[in-house]
């Protein structure tokens, strides 16, 4: 017997110094509490975790008192098990993104950066020129750059040319959980690029994570769809499972679609027929 079903292991994905056995990249924003976030991370067991960098809120002190820094939402979360992927969220220009990236490097002691330059406050869709400029600059400064972008195919090619270590087209506008809106473009990007393509933003349910992995995406980034589920912990687990299932299916190769129906049961040998 030539085929044996032993335990199956999927090859990890490498992006710069990061190794992703689990191809679900887990966000840390918009969770109901840090306890829930911690539980999600324990359930999903990601390798790469995104976070952001922001000004410490310095509460104005009453006269004669020491001002208090408010509790950080990540305070109760043990991030030591994860590789950190800080983003430049909040930047609307390449300059801001570069500045945030440098701060993030000092804060995480790592070179990974997710470039995000927003071009439109209403849709939070990325600015093509700013995104490309920030990528170029940060590659020059030695960062391992993963760039959030739209589903524009040529822009994705340009980002690869600019030295991005991974390109991260959005499935749909950030936070909408609408799921993949442009299969054609996302598949073209996956097909045309040599660097890993990570589907970012807008995924809503685990089946959509599986679906883009089946297309050949290298990984997915999920945040709102987990954080805003009724049960974030189980949803985190489900995204983790579905991402692996989609990867596995991609490698196995789908059965060919047939426009003709075909019985999976033998057509002959039926009594009385």
């Amino acid at each position: 017997m030539t085929t044996v079903a032993g335990p199956s292991t999927l090859q990890p994905l490498r992006i710069g110094a990061a190794t992703l056995g689990n191809r679900l990249i887990h966000g840390t924003g918009r969770f109901p509490s840090d306890a829930v976030l911690q539980a999600c991370l324990e359930a999903a067991r990601p390798d790469l975790v995104t976070l952001a960098i922001r000004r410490l809120a310095l509460a104005p002190a009453a006269p004669g008192e020491v001002p208090q820094a408010p509790r950080n939402e990540l305070a109760g979360v043990d991030l030591s098990a994860f590789t950190l992927l800080p983003n430049t969220a909040g930047a609307t220009t390449a300059e801001q993104a570069v500045r945030l990236a440098r701060l993030a490097r000092a804060a995480t002691l790592g070179d990974l950066i997710k470039v995000e330059v927003i071009g439109d406050e209403r849709t939070l869709l990325p600015d093509p020129a700013g995104t490309l400029d920030a990528t170029r600059q940060l590659v020059r400064e030695g960062f391992t750059v993963l760039t959030y972008t739209s589903d524009d195919v040529v822009l994705a090619l340009r980002l690869e040319e600019a030295g991005a270590a991974a390109v991260m087209p959005g499935a749909a506008p950030i936070g909408t959980t609408l799921g993949p809106q442009n299969e054609t473009n996302l598949r073209l990007i996956i097909e045309r690029l040599t660097v890993p393509v990570v589907i970012d933003a807008g995924l809503g349910v685990p089946s959509e994570a599986a679906r883009v992995m089946e297309w050949g995406a290298a990984a997915v980034l999920v945040n709102t769809a987990i954080a805003r589920s009724r049960d974030p912990v189980e949803m985190a687990r489900a995204f983790s499972e579905a991402t692996a299932a989609g990867r596995r299916a991609h490698l196995a190769g789908r059965a060919e679609i047939s426009l003709q129906a075909a019985a999976s049961t033998p057509a002959t040998g039926v009594p009385g027929s």
Partner: protein, 69 residues
Amino acid sequence: MTVAIVLNGEPAEVEAGITLAAFLENLGIDRRRVVVEHNRRVLRGAELEAATVARGDELEVLQLVGGGA
């Protein structure tokens, strides 16, 4: 004596000549949990001990927070 600086984008008065390390300590901020930018230059580790605050300085104190996209 204090000097006027810009701290996290807001006007602030701080003790003249204080080191950034001492400044953070006075605010009760754990240095290991923040990152500091002094006049657009990111300071690392021991640099906080050396750098001192002067009139008109721009100081940013940041931390990692939850985020995704």
